[in-house]
Amino acid sequence: MPAISTNEDHPLLQIEELAVYFDVGGSFSVPLLTKRTAHVKAVDGVAIDVGVGQTVAVVGESGCGKSTLARAVLGLVESKRGSIRIQGQDSTALKRSKDRFKIIQMVFQDPDSSLDPTMKIKDTVSEPLVGLSSMNKNDREKKAIEVLNAVGLDNKFLDRLPRQLSGGQKQRVNIARAIVTEPSLVILDEPTSALDASVQAQILNLLLELQTKYNLSYLIITHNISVAEYLSDRTYVMYAGKIVEHGPTSAVINEPRHPYTIALITSAPIPDPKERNLLKVEIVGEVPSVINPPPGCRFHPRCPYAEQKCSIQEPPLEPIGPERFAACHFIDKTARAAGKASA
């Protein structure tokens, strides 16, 4: 287990006011002549808590900053401001990446590119133990076999190479590698997006099994509302670098309140021809650039409820119900609209 002190009162992961900016204009800008550097404000003031044993989903579309958020937690990108506390300790105290990786591991979207094509499966899975544990080679291999079996791969896979595996099997290897060091939190970045439907369901069930077996917490990054619904306890909805709504997953998905959450959920196709929700979708436009996000509320150019105030003043995240928060100046309007729809 991790060497640092754990405090049960603290959430496992506590992100506050996190901002991650990237400089753009790089190759063509001349430092002394170019007055302003543009920033991609990929993550801009985000707060998220993940409790022990909890599953938290961050839902949003491409470019909303959800993957950058995950990378910042792992320390793979530097944050501009804000704090990330892991087991109550400021992550900057975990100077060596080794200390973070003992607690947090990650599974990436593309099962192909995240495996070394020249390494045998058993070596790929046992490699994290080389740096993060004091096990000898024999023990490392034993541990690797144990987790490979736990993810549903039997011993005949040990000496295989990634190219001899199907997409689903590769993702199982990625999951095995993430849990082999017995982390407390696993970040899953679009864990099933690259997989076929029949295989996606297997992986989702596997994740639930492993969570119980190894007492894991998950932070799931996904664009897929139904994946978030199936796996998570709490859902955060992200739009253009900001959290626009969060709360218990079933509440957020069944009674969305922020106009963007409503649009996102009604746009997700329901597998039932009797409920053709998609053809009724009213949202227009596309996700804005985060280099020059719209002023005020970032969703206002696409929002059916927007008024003048929305283009001037940015709405703060405010409580809207039990454990629920949303950032919208006119949250009462969506309640009325929801009421109308159900009436």
């Binding site: 579309e61 439907a197 369901a201 069930n205 746009s267 021809p273 979708v281 949202i283």
Partner: protein, 341 residues
Amino acid sequence: MEDNSVLNVDGLSIAYELKTGAVRAVDNVSMSIRPHELVAAVGESGCGKTTLGLSIIGLLPSPPAKYVSGEVNFHGKNLLSLAPDEMRLYRGTEIAMIFQEPMTSLNPVFKIGDQIQEAIELRDSRGKRNVATERNRSASPSRSGTKTKRKQIIDVLNLVRIPDPERVADRYPFELSGGMRQRVMIGIALAQKPSLLIADEPTTALDVTTQAQVLKLMKGLMEEVDTSILMITHDLAVASQVADRIAVMYAGQIVEEGEVFDLFSHPLHPYTQGLLACIPSGSKEGKRLKPIQGSTPDLRSIPAACKFAPRCPYVMKRCEAAKPELTVKEGSHRVACYLHQ
């Protein structure tokens, strides 16, 4: 088969000849598409749905692809019997295709307006006179004079509901978002007034809110442009939202086909049932998903009889002995499974 069908694929088999032997990517596929109908070919990777689409429009590289048997009848004419020159009169004008990734389908160094104009000029130069299909095209624009080229370009952009078309026409593809680019592709395809549009995963690369807009647009344009659509997709939920009929493909074969309502209310083939049970809905506190066992098959080592047998929960002796044929179960609902014969 129906005389008025736009497309009638009959017993089509296509193989890819590889060094290690031939694989059957499309295996004895028969399907038809009627006017104004949206048919979705649904299946997982490697099921042959893209090969099917490319074969209809004659874009399949041959070799390695080889037409083994069957016909692709378009308004009664077998496209597979045409010489390359003749096929060119159909491709793009009578049958158009859009692809998954709209960035790679547009030429990055030409302005949007120029690329649309090229499509319009191609349509006008062919005049569609050489094509055997004489359909009543009341909506076809005057071929000469009255409209300026610029106006025609703007019309196409308006058709696909692009805001501020005057400005967009002068932009390059990289300046547009993914959804805009796919709209432009749809505009270029439909500018030629094809009677069949093949859409290969048209919204897979798009965000959900954009996907919803593009699908709504495509569905709305079918009447306006007088076209039918063959949509190729891996997403049963998307298909259920827009399709009139669905053909479920597995390992090169159609295993079930029917009206969208029949297929969803009474899925007959174990594979279709499995796919539906795989779609997450509800929370983990509710019912667990029931995944299909195993993984999508490798066509090089696939059983000769029922190809789904190794993954099927209801597999019987005869499933491993002989191949079940696609037979009518009820009305127009067809299934290839011994459970229903």
